[in-house]
């Protein structure tokens, strides 16, 4: 295939401004999260002009760099993941249009040639966006709070990128179960919610795929990346399995 379909997917991201929007969104998370955390007490005061909360004698602990980066993660997990699902869906719903499906399917030698670029390029775009978001969040966090360890924090973006690749893999599989973009988005989100629910079971905590996004917090909280090894291994296996299954299913699908 000599990179033709990889170039096509890159062109899609650039020409439809998808990459720009994705990076801008993650960068915005990186700005908003530390700023909101820094001004949390003032914001609560503004939201409670009557002093009702204060009268309840609630004690808000002082905000830290870990809280600021944690706030970034809380933005990424629902909103960032949703954006990645949308971006991947735009690439992977090849069969949503029979005319387009026939155009591609009658020309590629194997379905893997068609699907792999549509997984790899959006996953790479999601990783770049997450890396930019983490960098912005770390910069502002360091400015507003105690400086977070820079290389370790940025390295924490890598496990998060693996989770986002898993998200793209789930979309790839969903696109071979249903055809329309809307159904693919719905099914993907449903699967991701179920996976997150399973990961929330305390006994399975170490294997939670979503825990990978929280890797950016580890340097600030004193955790070790090695603790994420089971989750990273499971996520990598699930991602490869989802993509492989999507290729098999797509090859067997009729248009």
């Amino acid at each position: 295939m000599n990179g033709t379909l990889y170039r096509l997917e890159t062109t899609r991201l650039l020409r439809t401004h998808t990459l720009l929007l994705l990076v801008a969104a993650f960068a915005a998370f990186g700005v908003v999260a530390p700023v909101l955390t820094f001004f949390m007490e003032d914001l609560l005061g503004l939201a409670d002009p009557g002093g009702d909360l204060a009268a309840m004698d609630l004690e808000i602990p002082p905000m830290s760099a870990a809280d600021a980066l944690g706030s970034y993660v809380e933005f990424v997990m629902p909103l960032g993941v949703l954006l990645v699902v949308l971006v991947a869906t735009a690439s992977l719903t090849v069969d949503a249009s029979p005319g387009r499906s026939v155009f591609y399917r009658s020309r590629v030698a194997r379905m893997a040639d068609l699907i792999l670029p549509r997984v790899v390029v959006p996953a790479a775009a999601a990783f770049v966006a997450h890396l930019v978001g983490v960098t912005v969040a770390w910069s502002l966090t360091s400015l507003l709070f105690d400086p977070a360890p820079p290389p370790a924090t940025l390295a924490g973006a890598v496990p998060g990128g693996l989770y986002l690749a898993f998200v793209v893999g789930v979309v790839a599989l969903a696109s071979t179960v249903v055809r329309s973009a809307l159904a693919t988005v719905g099914l993907s989100i449903g699967v991701l919610v179920v996976v997150a629910g399973i990961g929330a079971i305390p006994a399975l905590d170490a294997w939670s795929t979503g825990a990978l996004v929280r890797a950016v917090l580890l340097p600030s909280t004193g955790g070790a990346f090695a603790d994420l090894a089971p989750a990273a291994a499971l996520t990598a296996v699930l991602t490869v399995a989802a993509v492989a299954l999507s290729i098999v299913r797509s090859s067997a699908r009729e248009v």
């Binding site: 295939m1 000599n2 033709t4 899609r12 439809t16 005319g99 026939v102 155009f103 020309r107 009729e254």
Partner: protein, 308 residues
């Protein structure tokens, strides 16, 4: 200089042959026991009423669907299908779509070949425009260009002229005619006049079964009943009733308020029987014209016969 002996590969006369091809979807839909022989280098028409199984047949020949039973033998190389509504990434220009098509198919083409393919389908001026705003007709032309640039051995066209204006239709039919010998074309169309004009051979599907297959030129020799349009001064209902009572009339229908279409057991019976009947009943004749056998009349005759 001595000429070295060369061996030419032996190629079968048929580029595609099917045996007992069957794929059903419940009820009458799909195809049943389809035996087909598509001659190499010719334009092969597939006609049939809605739901006859044309799209299923084309999809199986193109490899985008699998038969439930039966076999497809292909002796061609690349088989490409142009659907009736082609669709491409809307943000690609026409020339990018054609170049992408060629590269995906592994065809080694340069910008000249891309421009040539677009020129051949009349899209040279739109080469640098994004296809997202193309009309359906322009997309159909673009689909043709994207297929031609791959130099297919078999080109399957599903309703290639359905979205085109009259001039565009003529251009596409001329293009298909020019492909004869360059590649084998399988053409499905509801426009029977188009099929008769450009196709060398035709297969007629009714309810998933082949009811006729052969050269288009043989259609006139099918031994069909003689037929006429008879236009009269008064209302045609009366004449239709009179004709229906005649033993030599096999079919009669009112096609306009003052015109009937009738088929007779043979030409001689109609040629003598119609004037006699009009004279006997004093029906004023305005015009009478023989109905020339064509694909459409054969289509109607065979589909009606199969439906009975």
């Amino acid at each position: 200089m001595t000429e070295e002996p060369r061996e030419w590969p032996v190629r079968t006369p048929n580029v595609i042959t099917t045996e007992k091809l069957t794929r059903t979807y419940g009820g009458d839909t799909g195809i049943l026991d389809v035996d087909l022989s598509v001659p190499r280098g010719r334009v092969f028409g597939v006609v049939g009423p809605n739901g006859a199984g044309k799209t299923t047949l084309l999809s199986i020949l193109a490899g985008t669907r699998a038969p439930a039973s039966g076999r497809v033998r292909t002796d061609g190389g690349r088989i490409l299908l142009c659907p009736d509504v082609p669709d491409f990434e809307p943000w690609l220009t026409a020339s990018e779509v054609v170049a992408l098509s060629a590269r995906m198919a592994g065809a080694d083409v340069g910008p000249g070949a891309v421009a040539g393919a677009l020129d051949r389908v009349g899209l040279a001026e739109a080469a640098d425009r994004r296809n997202g705003r193309f009309s359906r007709g322009m997309r159909q032309r673009l689909g043709l260009a994207a297929a031609l640039v791959c130099r297919p051995d078999v080109l399957i066209l599903d309703e290639p002229a359905s979205g085109l204006d009259p001039q565009g239709r003529v251009d596409v039919l001329d293009l298909i005619t020019s492909l004869r010998g360059e590649c084998t074309v399988i053409l499905a169309s509801h426009l029977l006049g188009d099929v008769q004009r450009v196709c060398d051979d035709v297969v007629l599907l009714v309810r998933g079964r082949v009811v006729h297959q052969g050269p288009v030129s043989d259609i006139a020799d099918q031994g069909r009943p003689a037929a006429w349009h008879v236009r009269v001064r008064e209302r045609a209902d009366h004449l239709a009733a009179l004709l229906a009572a005649e033993g030599w009339v096999t079919h009669v229908s009112r096609v306009e308020a003052d015109c009937v279409y009738l088929e007779a057991v043979d030409a001689a019976a109609g040629e003598s029987g119609i004037p006699r009947l009009l004279a006997e009943h004093g029906v004023p004749l305005v015009a009478m014209s023989g109905h020339t056998p064509d694909l459409e009349s054969m289509f109607l005759s065979l589909t009606n016969r199969t439906a009975r």
